[in-house]
């Protein structure tokens, strides 16, 4: 029973982690809470579904095109809604409200086109299931975890091993100093938004497959979860977002399994609050070193 819950928790937690990485990367670079991140998750799932039907049920073609489209949506979010604010030195709060507004535009746009009812989502890679002890593991779960962890590995190579990654990390430490090195800040930011769009799209599609359904509000709750995951891990810290996502996923499924399904979110958030009371910077967050 416990093993089963942990497996289910890891599955859902790894999808949280993906979205949370995108969220925390944007925060790291811009100190901006991107509320539209979770809309990209929903948007990605809908793009995949739409393209799946449009391409005559070619799942991987649909997924690839959906990844590109959601990446573009992420880019547009920054290019057309946020860049101008940065140039005008608008307060951070203006950017935050803009992302909230963009999130509503995305959500309502999708609702306008597809309607508000849930849509059934095909599970194209349903390869059956197997047992570990008494716990049932479906291949879908295995694939979700493998994809999620491979993406995290690729991403850490980009962030910690490439010149672009170094430009991102220096921008997150000090934007002006990064600019003085000759780094093109706008491209770094655009790249970050594209990555967060791609991660959200893949995660949204996988969750759609897992539950075999998507709906317009799927972004709202995951928005809260990934926000929580990023803060739990220490916002702006990539490994923190991964661990935070996994912990929230596991706590949630265990709470649902042993206590009550209805209270699972409440329990997950209670634990988040308790952790923050003892470690306000999150599990992996560090206090800023500021020396003058």
């Amino acid at each position: 029973m416990l093993l089963q819950q942990i497996i289910n928790g890891l599955t859902i937690g790894s999808t949280y982690a993906l979205v949370s990485i995108g969220f925390t990367m944007v925060f790291g670079v811009l100190e901006l809470t991107n509320f539209a991140n979770s809309s990209l998750y929903m948007l990605g799932a809908y793009f995949t579904l739409m393209l799946y039907n449009a391409t005559g049920h070619h799942f991987f073609v649909a997924l690839l095109m959906s990844i590109i489209l959601t990446g573009i949506a992420g880019y547009c979010l920054d290019r057309f809604a946020l860049r101008r604010l940065r140039r005008k030195n608008a307060p951070k709060l203006a950017g935050l409200i803009t992302t909230l507004g963009m999130s509503m535009i995305f959500d309502n746009g999708i609702m306008l086109i597809f309607g508000s009812e849930s849509k059934s989502f095909p599970n194209q890679i349903d390869l059956g299931r197997f047992y570990i002890g008494n716990a049932i593991v479906s291949w879908t779960q295995v694939i979700i975890m493998v994809v999620a962890f491979s993406l995290m590995a690729i991403l850490s190579i980009i962030v910690y091993g490439t010149k672009l990654g170094k430009a991102m990390r220096s921008t997150s430490q000090n934007v002006e100093a990064a600019r003085l090195m000759g780094i093109n800040i706008n491209s770094v930011i655009a790249f970050t938004f594209i990555i967060s769009g791609i991660l959200a799209c893949i995660s949204g599609t996988m969750v759609g497959m897992y539950y075999q359904t998507v709906d317009v509000n799927m972004g709202t709750m995951i928005g809260m979860k990934t926000f929580a995951a990023a803060i739990l891990g220490g916002v702006g810290v990539l490994p923190g977002a991964v661990i935070g996502g996994l912990i929230i996923g596991i706590i949630e499924t265990i709470a649902a399994g042993y206590i009550s399904t209805g209270y699972r979110d409440a329990i997950a958030f209670t634990i988040l609050i308790i952790v923050l009371l003892f470690k306000p910077t999150g599990l992996f967050g560090q206090k800023q070193i500021n020396k003058v």
């Binding site: 010149k163 170094k166 430009a167 990390r169 220096s170 430490q173 000090n174 002006e176 100093a177 990064a178 600019r179 003085l180 090195m181 000759g182 780094i183 093109n184 800023q288 070193i289 020396k291 003058v292």
Partner: protein
């Protein structure tokens, strides 16, 4: 011909004009200082040269090219590099990684050579090359900030308040370094509140007062000028 020339440069924050028709020249091989009180517009002048702050009117020329309001990236490419006020090193990067960032626009194969030069200039940075920059002392951070700028092979090095918050002994060390950098063929424009030390180490200087250049002469002349002594040396003769 001057390496850097500012022509009637005007800049403002909102409705407040902070630079009023600034004219300024830096010739190749010189150390030029801008002195002035807080809020006189010294840092804004530096930021305008770098393209971090756009000017409302006027022109900035570098090596005969009009670079007014170009992107900061272009300025760095052309060889103007600013060491900003308050050092602004990357606290979570090691000393070495900070230096590598300074050569961001340069080909990878040139990085090693430049790093050797910087390590010779600041042996202390070599000793601490794997230490996180955020854990260095203020003086060491200033050395790192200057070293990082040198990694970009500047033709013109802009230094904004390099002595800020440092002990007198360290300040001397920093200014010796500035002299040394000049002998390496780098032209230097310096902003300082510490007017006496700055003037002793410069060829020429400009005095800024509320956004205007009020005096402009050889450094020695200004060092001995009564007006400057009264206003900027605080009477501690």
């Amino acid at each position: 011909m001057a390496l850097l020339r500012l022509e009637q440069v005007t800049a403002s924050y909102g409705n407040i004009q902070v630079l009023k028709e600034i004219n300024l020249e830096v010739n190749e091989g010189e150390i030029v200082t801008l002195i002035g009180a807080n809020g006189a517009g010294k840092s804004t002048t530096m930021r305008t040269i770098m393209g971090l702050k756009h000017c409302d009117s006027g022109k900035v020329w570098f090596g005969g090219e009009d670079i007014t309001n170009c992107d900061t990236r272009i300025m760095v490419q052309k060889g103007i590099i600013l060491v900003p006020e308050g050092r602004q090193v990357f606290p979570k990067f090691s000393v070495k990684d900070n230096l590598v960032m300074g050569a961001y626009l340069r080909p990878d194969e040139e990085i090693q050579d430049s790093m050797q030069i910087v390590y010779e200039l600041f042996p202390r940075l070599k000793d601490r090359k794997d230490q996180l920059a955020g854990t260095l002392s203020g003086g060491e951070q200033q050395m790192l900030a200057v070293g990082r700028a040198m990694m970009g092979k500047p033709k013109l090095l802009l230094l904004d308040e390099p002595s800020l918050g440092l002990a007198p002994l360290i300040i001397n060390e920093i200014f010796e370094m500035i002299q040394h950098i000049r002998t390496m063929g780098t032209t230097i424009l310096l902003v300082e509140q510490n007017a006496r030390v700055a003037l002793k180490n410069s060829n020429r200087a400009y005095v800024l007062e509320t956004g205007r250049i009020v005096l402009n002469d050889a450094a020695e002349v200004l060092l001995n000028s009564e007006k400057v002594q009264e206003a900027y040396f605080g009477g501690l003769n």
